[in-house]
């Protein structure tokens, strides 16, 4: 089923504006500022609609150019991401694949060689050549290699060493440290389980107590925190839920409370998601919160409660991304007034893809030219590429046994 969405009525949006009369806390003041900027964007677009019926338009060619040039070269302002270079590869390769870009084999090979340089002799990947292995760049590198999808790319991953690295950062309570002596948080569990499941190296020993530890991070609000006791947060909630789904233990958490928390993170005026209660909208949560929905649907389906539609406002989220978060020169941004970067381009487009696809239905805002490829909500990689990687690594597992 295919369905083109229409914009929300601008007067309905205005009805939801936060009033300054009630209180004047810092949170409220800041929220009112953001709503003003966003509303201006929506009003401007509605004014242009009379002339151009194809709006809002996803600036695909501009985004491709921005991403392709970033893949090659980055300014010195990226120096602080020197220890996150596999991330940058993933943040670029994934949205390019959603935009349907095919890279030449020789170019893929160059990227593979770079990622191979980031792999540590002791297993796992570091943030750059010669850096210590760390779960976050390990996740990013494995995902990037899966997206490249060539045999050369798959062969880079030293699976026995990767397994050793994962075990070396595993804690007795089931959690994972991000690196040797590194911080322990729920990202660690997700990154470890994601790469282990994708490359078929999961063992009972690797995941012992992990689901129970993850569940201990669910807070009274319903979302998951980075560690027990901390505040529910979009990025961490995604990590917690995705990790539980990989373990097939999502029923251990309170998914009713999680769903209530998730739907409440969508902003009534902006249409995008916030990361935490009473914080501001940010386009990266289009995926971190938005991507949790398809995972929840799989849990609901087991109870015979499959929803008939997205349980968030898919139209409003697409409005926010398309109208408020595109840099006209390519690349996407957190919110109006912010600079573009690879991270927000990746997660805003991933969220857009989630919003456009519900089960087998498509619901696209603007024209069909705005449609992106689907993304697999567990790994945030295109489903066909996930399948290819799973098949490849699963066959290796069979070879070994």
């Amino acid at each position: 089923m295919e369905n083109l969405l229409k914009l929300r009525d601008i007067n309905d949006i205005r009805k939801n504006l936060t009033l300054s009369l009630e209180d004047s806390t810092e949170t409220t003041e800041e929220q009112i500022k953001v709503e003003k900027m966003v509303l201006k964007k929506y009003e401007d677009l509605h004014a242009q609609l009379n002339v151009n019926h194809n709006l809002p338009e996803l600036l695909k060619e501009h985004h491709k150019r921005f991403l392709s040039s970033s893949l090659e070269h980055l300014s010195s302002s990226y120096e602080t991401l020197d220890a996150s270079r596999p991330w940058i590869c993933y943040w670029i390769l994934h949205p390019l694949s959603l935009l349907g870009v095919r890279l030449e084999d020789s170019y893929k090979s160059r990227i593979v060689r770079f990622l191979a340089k980031c792999q540590s002799p002791t297993g796992g990947f570091g943030g750059g050549p010669g850096q210590m292995p760390h779960l976050a760049p390990t996740y990013a590198a494995v995902n990037a290699l899966a997206i490249l999808g060539t045999e050369e790319a798959f062969k880079v991953i030293n699976r026995p060493k990767l397994y050793e690295f994962l075990l070396s950062v595993k804690q007795s309570n089931g959690s994972f440290a991000m690196h040797h002596r590194g911080e322990v948080d729920i990202r660690g569990a997700y990154c470890a389980l994601s790469v282990a499941s994708l490359t078929s190296i999961i063992t009972p020993e690797l995941v012992a107590n992990t689901a129970e530890w993850i569940v201990s991070c669910q807070t009274y609000e319903g979302g998951f925190a980075g560690s027990p006791g901390a505040e529910a947060h979009g990025g961490y909630a995604f990590c917690g839920l995705a990790a539980l789904v990989i373990l097939n233990k999502a029923d251990l958490c309170n998914h009713h409370a999680l769903l209530r928390w998730l739907v409440n993170r969508q902003m009534s005026v902006e249409g995008g998601f916030q990361g935490r209660t009473n914080k501001q909208v940010d386009s990266c949560y289009s995926f971190w919160q938005g991507g949790a929905f398809p995972l929840i649907y799989t849990i609901l389906a087991k109870e015979g409660l499959t929803p008939e539609n997205h349980l968030f406002d898919a139209r409003a989220l697409q409005e926010y991304i398309l109208i408020c978060c595109q840099n006209i020169h390519g690349g996407l941004i957190d919110k109006p007034g912010k600079p573009r970067d690879a991270y927000h381009t990746c997660y805003a487009l991933s969220g857009l893809s989630i919003a456009q696809h519900f089960l087998n239905n498509k619901q696209v805002l603007g024209t069909y030219k705005n449609e992106l490829a689907n993304t697999h909500p567990l790994y945030n990689i295109r489903p066909d590429l996930v399948r290819k990687a799973l098949l490849y690594f699963h066959s290796l597992k069979n070879d070994a046994t």
Binding site: E26, L74, S75, E79, D82, T219, S227, T277
Partner: protein, 357 residues
């Protein structure tokens, strides 16, 4: 205005021009210039010089005073480089240095870069080694004065409280932070953490602490209705008593009064009442009362969902409609089970906020 603090380096001398580094051959990232790395960052000459020397000494496993100084510079260029932080720690240990000055050092960096995972983690390592957390509350308070929702600062304070059992005065700290901004959800979450760590609620009794937390929260809700943080906190507190979300008469009356007498239709109130109805059904459907209440509660649930979906929370329309259907399916299933397997046990717990008198 530019911040002109004392640790800025006005004239940075490249390591290759320093006589004390003459014995080291700098080491690049790649074996030859032929390699064409991707995501190629345009490093400044100073950055590249510093990291080329770091790679060279790391390869030799040199742990000396000059390497300690080098890590200082490398951290300045990129405080997110976890490899450098780890190397710094190893160097300090190898040189058997006093770790205490690291507290001042990390404090400066934290206050400049409060959203950096590495520096907080490193500080945690130092504090754990020293077994002295006496400065940590002050430091997190300083970071929170700059950004009252800084996730790292709250998370760190929580870990310090837990590891060093330093709960004294923390409820007051939460109260103060909520006083400053009643919508600060991090402060509410902290309050929940402190309350649960300093009390035992396992027997389901509505203790004085719970009563006083309920009063505190209802007061905040009365002053600012549209505040999800306070409504969520209320759910969290009620989860500790045997009747759960509809186990407190005080709260039930409060909601009833808001909805029926004051005509309040705040979406958080409606959502709260909805969950009360469902919980009420869960508790009563196996009792004699359930015969009559079941259909009543289901009707009320559908009504509230419809009100939310069409009028008071249209953004979440799909969710409310889905919830309405799900509740209906679950309740019908429960009713069927009740008829098939009738129970003789009477459980006495009802909720007064859910259906109109």
């Amino acid at each position: 205005m530019a911040d002109s603090s004392d640790d800025e380096v006005p004239k940075h001398v490249l390591f290759k021009d320093r006589p004390e580094w003459k014995d080291i051959e700098p080491l690049g990232e790649y074996d030859s210039d032929e390699e064409q790395p991707v995501v190629n960052i345009e490093y400044s000459a100073e950055f590249k010089d510093c990291y080329d020397y770091f790679r060279a000494v790391a390869q030799k496993r040199e742990y000396t005073q000059r390497v300690l100084d080098l890590t200082d510079t490398a951290i300045k260029f990129n405080p997110a480089n976890y490899t450098i932080w780890g190397y710094r720690f190893d160097t300090l240990k190898a040189l058997e240095k006093d770790l205490r000055p690291e507290l001042e050092y990390t404090k400066r960096i934290i206050l400049k870069q409060p959203k950096n995972y590495q520096v907080w983690n490193y500080r945690n390592l130092i504090v754990t080694e020293l077994q002295d957390a006496s400065n940590e509350k002050e430091l997190t308070a300083l970071a929170l004065a700059e950004d009252s929702k800084n996730y790292h600062a709250w998370d760190y304070r929580i870990s310090i409280l837990r590891d060093f059992k330093m709960y004294d005065g923390e409820l007051e700290f939460a109260t103060q932070m909520i006083e400053d901004d009643v919508r600060n959800n991090s402060a509410w979450n902290y309050r929940d953490f402190v309350i649960h760590r300093t009390n035992n609620f396992w027997d389901g009794v509505e203790t004085d602490v719970i009563k006083s937390e309920i009063e505190y929260t209802l007061d905040k809700i009365t002053k600012l209705m549209d505040n999800e943080s306070a409504w969520s906190y209320l759910r969290g507190i009620l989860a500790n008593i045997s009747g759960g979300i509809c186990g407190s008469k005080r709260v039930n009356d409060f909601c009833h009064n808001l909805y029926y007498n004051k005509g309040n239709r705040c979406r958080f109130l409606l959502s709260f009442m909805l969950d009360c109805c469902f919980r009420d059904h869960e508790v009563t459907y196996r009792t004699k009362e359930g015969d009559e209440r079941g259909p009543q509660l289901l009707a009320r649930i559908k009504e509230l969902c419809l009100e939310l979906a069409t009028e008071h929370d249209v953004t979440r329309k799909q969710y409310w409609m889905h919830l309405s259907k799900s509740f209906e399916k679950m309740i019908i299933k429960a009713e069927l089970e009740r008829q098939l397997y009738p129970s003789s046990e009477d459980e006495d717990s009802t909720c007064s906020c859910s259906t109109e008198d």
